[in-house]
Symmetry: C2
Subunit: 337 residues, 2 copies
C-alpha cells in the first residue's frame, strides 16, 4: 500500500461543509431563499417528479449573487477597499456590482462585447463600471488583469474561487433541505462554479444523491473534459445559452471529476423549446442557460435511460433541477429571433 | 331601535369563515400553495414593502382553480353527474375544465369569441368542450342557458356563487397567514369573485387590513358602482386586461360595498408598462389582468395619498398584491403588439 501523496486530489481540495455553512449564514440576510416550484405538466413529459430551484427569481436574477456576496463579504476591509474586478459574461458581473455596492466599494466588470445588452445594462444599473473585451477567454483574462493593475482592485474570479463555489453550493443545499429525498440533481455547467457547488451542497445533505451537468452541445468542454479525463478548453462559443460560454478551471474540473455522474448535451433547438415550454407552463422567465438543465429531461427516453429511481414501489424518480437565472431581453425573445 | 330586517344586507350574506376554512381544506390537496415573492426594485418605485401572492404560478395559471375546485367538489354525485357548464372569459373556463376532469365529469365552457386563443386552447387541453358566444354578458348568459338546457349540466357561475367566492378567499387567507401584518391588500376586480374573496380571506386573519380593488379605466363598472352606490353594468369592454371584462353581480357588489376601501383605476398604458416591469424585475409572467393590481402602486404619489401605513416608526406600509394569473400568448406579448 503506497503512502505517496496523491497530488492531484489535494491540490484542489473542495470547500469544506463548514465553509458552505459559513457562506450560507453570511449571505442569507441579503439574498432570497428562492421557491422550489413544481409542474404536473412537465412531470408528465419527463416521466419524473421534478422540483425546480428557482434561482431565476433570485436577487439580480441569478444564483451568481450567492457566490459574489460570499466572496465579497469574506474579504477584509483592506482587501475590499480598492474595489472588486471580475471578468463576466453578465450575471456574475451584475452580482458582483450588486454585492460590491452593498459592501460600499467599486466594481469593475470586464464583459465580452457579444454579451446581451440587457445584462450589460443590469451591471450598470447596480453601479458597476463596464470594460469590454473580445468574446474569448484569453481576451477577457487579459483585460481583467489590466484593469486590476490600473485600479488595485481585488480579483474575484467567476468560478475558479473556493468562496464563490461555497456560495453557489447554498442553492442546492436549500433545495435538498426542502426536498430531502431527491434521487438526482441537474444543473447547467459552464465554468463549473454552480455545478461544483451543486455537488457539494446537495451531497452535504444527502450523500446518495446523483449529480448531472447539462451543457449546450455547442459549448461541450465539460463533456469532453469528463470523457477524456483531461481538462479541455473552449475558447469561444456562440450558443444561445449566453451564460454557458466559459470553460472549466482545474479547480472546478477536480470537483466535477469526483462527484458528477455524467454530462448531458443538448442542441440549440432543444434549449429554445425547453425555455418556451417552461415559460408557458410554469409562468416563470428562465434564460436559455437555465433551460439547458431541463432540456435533457424532456427528451423521450432520457429519464428512464439514466436509471435514476431508487423507488421500486412507484418507479418515478424525484429529480431536482436548478434554474440558474432569468435575465432575458424581453424585446427579443429566444423563439422570435 | 328598529327590529325590521335589513333586506339588502341579508339577501347576500357572504360566505362564513367556516365555509372558507372548509373550502381551503377541500382544495388544498389539489392546488399549489403559491409563493409570496418580494422585489426590492418594485418596493423602491412604490415606496412600500410589497408582498406578491403569485397565483400566476397556480395550477391552470390562475387563482380560478381555487373557486372552481371548491364549487365542483362541493356538489353531490347527482348534481355533478351530467357535467358542469359555465360562461368564462378564459381562466375560469380552464379551471372548471381541470376541476371537472379531476371529478371525472364533462365541462361545457361558453367563451366570448374575442377571448385570447391561448386561453381557449388551455380549456380544450384540460378536456373542456368550448361553445363560442358574442363578447357581451347577455350573449354569454344566453348561450350558457342553452347549453345547460341541452346537456342537463350544473351551472357554476364564475363569481356569482358563494362556493366560488369561498374558494377565491383562500388566496388572500394564505397571503395573510404568511405575512400577518399587512396594512392593505390590492386585487384586480372584474366580476368581483376574487376581490370579494380577498376581503373575506384577508379580514378573516387580520380585521384591520384595508382592501383596494384595481380596475381598468376601460372597464370601470366596479368603480362606478361603488361611487354611485348602485350596481352599474358593463356590457362590453376591449381592455387589454382580458380577464377583467365582466361586471359585478348583486352578490359581489354587496360584499365589496361593505369591505372595499376604494377602487383604483388604471389606463391601458399603465397596465402594459406595469406588466413589463414585473416580467423584467421579478422574472415571472403575469397577464395584463394581474398587472392591473400593481399598476396603481407604481404611479408617483399614489401610495402616500392612500395613507396606508400604521407604522409611525418607519412610515413604510406593508402591502399585499394578488397576481391573479399568468396566461399570456407568448407569441404576441402585450408590448410588442
Amino acid at each position: 500500500m503506497s503512502t505517496a501523496p496523491q497530488v492531484e486530489d489535494t491540490t484542489f481540495l473542495p470547500p469544506s461543509w463548514e465553509a458552505i455553512l459559513a457562506a450560507h449564514a453570511r449571505i442569507a440576510p441579503r439574498i432570497h431563499r428562492t421557491p422550489v416550484l413544481t409542474s404536473s405538466s412537465l412531470d408528465a413529459i419527463a416521466g419524473a417528479k421534478l422540483f425546480f430551484k428557482c434561482e431565476n427569481l433570485q436577487r439580480t436574477g441569478s444564483f451568481k449573487i450567492r457566490g459574489a456576496t460570499n466572496a465579497i463579504f469574506s474579504l477584509s476591509k483592506d482587501e475590499a477597499a480598492r474595489g472588486i474586478v471580475t471578468p463576466s459574461s453578465g450575471n456574475h458581473g451584475a452580482a458582483v456590482a450588486c454585492a460590491a455596492a452593498w459592501r460600499g466599494v467599486p466594481a469593475y466588470i470586464v464583459v465580452p462585447k457579444n454579451a446581451p445588452k440587457v445584462k450589460v445594462q443590469a451591471i450598470e444599473a447596480y453601479g458597476g463600471k463596464v470594460t469590454f473585451s473580445e468574446p474569448t477567454i484569453t481576451s477577457r483574462t487579459e483585460v481583467a488583469a489590466r484593469v486590476q493593475a490600473e485600479t488595485g482592485a481585488h480579483l474575484v474570479h467567476p468560478y475558479d474561487n473556493d468562496r464563490i463555489i461555497a456560495g453557489q453550493a447554498t442553492a442546492a443545499k436549500e433545495l435538498l433541505e426542502e426536498v430531502g429525498d431527491l434521487d438526482a440533481v441537474f444543473a447547467p455547467v459552464s465554468g463549473g462554479g454552480l455545478l461544483s457547488g451543486t455537488c457539494l451542497g446537495a451531497r452535504g445533505i444527502r450523500t446518495s444523491v446523483r449529480i448531472f451537468g447539462c451543457e449546450p452541445a455547442r459549448a461541450d468542454d465539460a463533456y469532453r473534459s469528463l470523457a477524456t479525463g483531461t481538462l479541455q478548453s473552449l475558447d469561444s462559443s456562440d450558443t444561445i445559452a449566453d451564460g454557458l460560454r466559459a470553460s472549466l478551471s482545474p479547480r472546478t474540473f477536480a470537483i466535477l471529476r469526483k462527484y458528477v455522474d455524467r454530462i448531458l448535451l443538448v442542441s440549440e433547438e432543444e434549449i429554445i423549446s425547453a425555455a418556451r415550454l417552461v415559460w408557458e407552463r410554469m409562468k416563470i422567465i428562465i434564460e436559455p442557460s437555465s433551460a439547458v438543465a431541463i432540456a435533457p429531461l424532456l427528451k423521450a427516453g432520457v429519464v428512464p435511460s439514466l436509471n435514476l429511481s431508487n423507488r421500486p414501489d412507484s418507479g418515478v424518480p424525484k429529480l431536482g433541477v436548478i434554474f440558474s437565472g432569468g435575465n432575458v431581453d424581453l424585446s427579443a425573445l429566444p423563439w422570435t429571433r
